[in-house]
């Protein structure tokens, strides 16, 4: 799902980073958002709605709509569309509103 050739843009991808999504080992590139790395790996469902538990993906990709909230390294409500992927991140689907520690 990655663009390899483009008439205008030259994607200079950073180094490969390892992370997990619900325990599954995935890779992404340095400099990209968590949501972009997940999407490139074919993961479109990022979470679920609070009451009806309907699947949720990102919508705005600029950190505004809260449709992409996930648990990252144990912290809930992380806006994965604007949070940069880091080596070893543990990314999980969020159920419910999340708990502040």
């Amino acid at each position: 799902m990655r663009i390899e050739e483009h008439p205008i843009l030259d994607f200079k991808r950073g180094k490969i980073l390892n992370f997990t999504f619900n325990g599954e080992k995935l890779t992404g590139y340095e400099g990209e958002s968590i949501a972009a790395a997940l999407h490139a790996a074919g993961v479109k469902v990022l979470g679920e709605s609070l009451n009806l538990h309907r699947p949720r993906g990102f919508y705005c990709a600029i950190g505004n709509c809260s449709s992409c909230l996930m648990v990252v390294n144990g912290v809930p409500n992380v806006k994965t569309c604007v949070t940069e992927l880091k080596e070893g991140m543990v990314v999980q689907t969020q159920r419910g509103k999340g708990v502040l520690k």
Binding site: M1, R2, I3, E5, H6, P7, I8, L9, F11, R13, E32, S33, A36, H39, A40, K44, V45, L46, S49, R54, P55, R56, G57, F58, Y59, C60, A61, I62, G63, N64, C65, S67, V78, C81, V82, E84
Partner: protein, 366 residues
């Protein structure tokens, strides 16, 4: 507590131009940007801009962002940039509350503020519009042009305005099929030059059409589209199913001005400006003294006009703080003339009818 002369909230086209303009007048400026890079939505705009030379016409948005950043460096002694910093609140005592990297809270006390907070994409109401695979057209543009990731294989574009047309073209540049572009209006809203380019590539542009329903279990699998009559009501019996895994919603933007509303600026709902926007004077100052606004936050337009508005707001905010250049009137009139030129034509007339409703001739500070 951090102090500064001018605080610019938002590092997009309007904010950067406000910072540059105020610095040119002699003011010290702090730009706060919630993302990790400057440029706002310019960073995903691979198309060339219209307008005139002053607004970087015939230059791609991505390159305009670089030009503005290079200009910032010229003023590096006056302009400080804080990325990864979100402004959370503006308070009555003039203190601004900000958050760095979602971790560290701090306070800023500026003498004046330009809010250039931009806009966000509207949604459209239809059954299952929340299925993953249904994204804002701008979101897909970010995914493709910033991260180099395809949104899917087969796209339905909803909305034939400029964003819908441009993103459709960019999808094809990225090697993604666009099944159709539809718009509820009886004619194409965007520039004909964009529309004909797309039509030549064999993509049907269906006017007087809307989405009736999205179908899919976990993600979008199909879209049901139908024709609408002149009152935008669906016409029974005209339904058609399209097998698409992505739907882009491109039905306009809404100004992002919660911070201004929260601070108590007088707000007004103006349909021509696409939402609730602050009442202001001709110098871009809201009804709260020393709080200015520019760009999409003061009404949805294009990045070209956002940049000119930013220059104006920065000029006026600096003047208010005592940095009034000798050629103030000339510069003010020059920018106003640029805006007038950008707002010629039917779309511009529509915008001007909106602006008339929010600009008060006298100061009405509350």
């Amino acid at each position: 507590m951090k102090t500064t002369e001018l605080l610019v909230i938002g590092g997009g086209p309007a904010g950067l131009c406000a910072a540059l303009s105020a610095a040119e007048s002699g003011a010290s400026v702090t730009v706060v940007e919630r993302n990790n890079r400057l440029g706002g939505q310019l960073i995903k705009q691979t198309h060339m801009f219209f307008g005139s030379r002053e607004q970087y016409a015939s230059t791609r948005g991505i390159d305009i962002a670089k030009i503005l950043e290079a200009e910032l460096i010229k003023y590096s002694r006056q302009i400080e940039v804080l990325t990864d910093t979100a402004v959370l609140g503006l308070y009555e005592d003039g203190v601004v509350n900000a958050l760095y990297k979602e971790e560290d809270y701090f306070k800023i006390k500026p003498k004046a503020i330009v809010a250039a907070t931009g806009a966000y994409e509207k949604s459209l109401a239809f059954p299952n519009n929340d299925l993953p695979g249904i994204y804002g057209a701008g979101a897909v543009q970010t995914l493709m042009n910033v991260y180099g990731v395809k949104p899917g294989n087969n796209v339905l574009m909803v909305g034939a305005g400029n964003i819908g047309l441009i993103v459709s073209y960019q999808l094809m540049q990225a090697g993604v099929r666009v099944a159709a572009i539809l718009d509820a209006a009886p004619k194409i809203g965007g520039y004909l030059v964009h529309a004909s380019k797309i039509a030549r590539m064999g993509v049907p542009i269906l006017c007087s059409h809307t989405v009736k329903e999205a179908i899919g279990k976990d993600c979008l699998e199909k879209a049901v589209i139908c024709m609408v009559d002149e009152r935008f009501s669906p016409i029974p019996g005209t339904e058609k199913e399209l097998e698409v895994d992505v739907m882009c919603i491109s039905v306009g933007l809404t100004p992002l001005c919660e911070l201004l509303a929260m601070r108590g600026c007088e707000m007004k709902y103006v349909p021509q400006l696409s939402g609730s926007v602050p009442v202001r004077n001709e110098r871009y100052e809201t009804t709260i003294e020393n709080l200015f606004v520019a760009g999409d936050a003061s009404g949805i337009e294009e990045a070209s006009s956002a940049m000119v508005e930013g220059r104006l707001a920065g000029l006026c905010a600096a003047a208010k703080m005592g940095y009034k250049p000798a050629d103030f009137d000339e510069r003010f009139k020059g920018y106003a003339a640029q805006l007038k030129a950008l707002r010629s034509g039917p779309v511009g007339e529509h915008i001007l009818r909106g602006i008339e409703q929010i600009v008060s001739k006298e100061d009405r500070h509350v």
